[in-house]
């Protein structure tokens, strides 16, 4: 890898102070994102994927707070920026697409209003130019008769069309990074792949990097360059999509892959991981996955594993260290 990464997250911790003590929702995660790269972030609900996205764009809801680590955008620290500077950066350098297009758009304003306001907030253009740009953007995301649809309200669009508008909104100031938080979860299955392909195409055309948060491995396989698998607020495994999917190293990833039905598969039963992800207030010491892992060793219960290289990817599992030592 040459040059500095576009986004660099190091040892990020996100905490929620609560009456019964501090809950650590994200516990020391680190990853890099190169320019124009698509990084998939997968995990179960509550694994901290969305929270990671929200922390990067600086929209954590209080009392949630970044308690440690750093986030850098092109080398510049952005996790401790004053609110006004962070506001200028949102939308301009980091865009975000939310899960539900039905609720992401303000129902009382035309989509033209919303796009033009966003463009004019970030770019030094006249209203006329902003309008032209809005039409071009809507055309680019595949809204027919874009010029006329500017004066339409969100409720006059279908779900898929609204998500296209949302993508246009996220991209309207040419950000370097788009965080897409489950952009297809709320959509009809038939529309999902269209939207994913659209997101992929526009971001490639604009050279925008994408942090694609989803629990859909299929989407990741189709779209992402690299993938980070999250478990209990930690990264279990991260690496090139092909490696992670074809030869997963972490027992959790292996379990996840075994749970995906395949069209050609000859299994009658999908494998399942026993138990469920621990609640935030009862994450076990050592490896968070140890109570559910078939390969648990004594060390797993005591000491938390760091990311250990495994082929081209890295996984947080003591077993890897063992096999590495054995092969030495």
């Amino acid at each position: 890898m040459t040059g500095q990464p576009l986004l660099s997250v190091k040892d990020l911790r996100v905490e929620f102070p609560s009456r019964r003590g501090v809950l650590t929702a994200i516990d020391g995660i680190s990853f890099d994102l190169r320019e124009g790269e698509v990084l998939g972030v997968v995990g179960e609900s509550g694994a901290g994927k969305s929270l990671t996205g929200t922390a990067v764009i600086g929209l954590l809801e209080p009392p949630g707070r970044i308690a440690g680590g750093e986030i850098r955008l092109k080398g510049e620290r952005i996790d401790n920026l004053p609110p006004a500077a962070m506001r200028k950066l949102r939308g301009k350098r980091i865009g975000m697409v939310f899960q539900d297009p039905l609720t992401s758009l303000n129902p009382l304003f035309t989509i033209g209003d919303q796009i033009i306001e966003t463009i004019m907030t970030h770019l030094p253009v006249s209203e006329r130019q902003a309008r032209d740009r809005a039409v071009a953007l809507l055309e680019e995301v595949g809204i027919p008769a874009a010029g006329q649809r500017l004066s339409a309200y969100p409720h006059q669009f279908s779900g898929g069309m609204r998500q296209r508008v949302v993508i246009a909104l996220a991209l309207c100031a040419e950000p370097e990074l788009v965080i897409a938080d489950e952009p297809t979860t709320a959509l009809d299955v038939s529309v999902q792949s269209q939207i994913i392909r659209l997101l992929q195409r526009v971001c490639r055309d604009h050279g925008t990097a994408v942090m694609l948060i989803t629990h859909d491995m299929g989407v990741i396989a189709e779209t992402a360059d690299r993938v980070a698998v999250m478990y209990s607020g930690r990264i279990a495994e991260i690496g090139p999509v092909r490696d992670v999917i074809k030869s997963p190293s972490h027992p959790y990833t292996i379990g996840l892959m075994g749970a995906i039905p395949s069209l050609t598969g000859d299994h009658d039963r999908l494998t399942q991981i026993p138990g469920s992800m621990p609640r935030l207030d009862s994450i076990p010491t050592g490896c968070a996955f140890n109570p559910r892992c078939a390969l648990t060793m004594d060390r797993c219960r005591v000491e938390r594993p760091d990311l250990i290289p495994a082929g081209e990817s890295q996984a947080a599992c003591w077993k890897l260290l063992e096999s590495e030592e054995a092969s030495r």
């Binding site: 506001r87 539900d100 609720t103 992401s104 303000n106 129902p107 035309t110 907030t121 309200y153 006059q156």
Partner: protein, 325 residues
Amino acid sequence: MLAFTIRRLLQAVLVMLVVALISFTLFRFVGDPVNQMVGVETTPEQREALRERLGLNDPVLVQFGRFITKAARFDFGTSYQFRQPVAELIGRRLPATLELSFVSAVLALLVGIPMGVYTGLHRDSWLSKLFLSISLIGISLPTFFIGILLIFVFAVTLQWLPSFGRGGVVQLGWWSTGLLTWSGIKALILPAITLGLFQMTLIMRLVRSEMLEVIRTDYIKFARARGLRERSINFRHALKNTLVPVITITGLQLGSIIAFAIITETVFQWPGMGLLFLQAVQNVDIPIMAAYLMLIAFLFVTINLIVDLLYFRVDPRLRVERAAH
């Protein structure tokens, strides 16, 4: 939209008819007006002649029909006590009450909405807590007490503002306004605060709770994620979404401000309709009471109609779907 307006207008007419019937029949049972109008030494024959002259001996339906047709021409008969046309009496008092009501409603909105937005956005600041405590007073203290308290502080102790009356008025056609003279404005301040305080706190609390709800919605989060300016997010995107319930309540409240100005008018000896109505109740002056009820019903119906039309203005989802899809 037009069909909707027409339908609403028809409903309004129906409501007015029902109110007319109720006010008319109710007052048949309030008491015998003749007793109030005549002296002790009036003979039964004279009483009977008076009844006949007032049309009190006709069948109820005939009386009601007469009431309606006259009311449609703003003729509510002659006041029993003042021996003057009711329309004239009310017309003379109406400007005072309407001015007082509108000033207090505007005051309630202009102060209540920003306070609501502020307390909704800065939930934990000490100023919000102060506003909320004040609003508790506004909600729980009775109007007359607030009025007397204000008189005690600003009229008696500090002697800044007058404690009663309307001050100097200027005649604009049949409308007499106190808004054009300094003494009129000064006289308006205390009653307007007294009358508007409850509505103000109500609007503030309403805007606050709506605000708390709206700023948690996805579209506000998305607006933040797009880096829009705070002011635009709070006062454009969020506030507009809180407006539908605020319009509803404000509309209804404006009606009750006018209707219940009675107490404030009594405390401040404000020469409005409320005082007139109270005198009418004491003297069983049925024409005035009936006309007053009709007027209040008319105001409520009109305000409701305006509120319904405002919904369309604010919320595009209620407008008829256009061909585009």
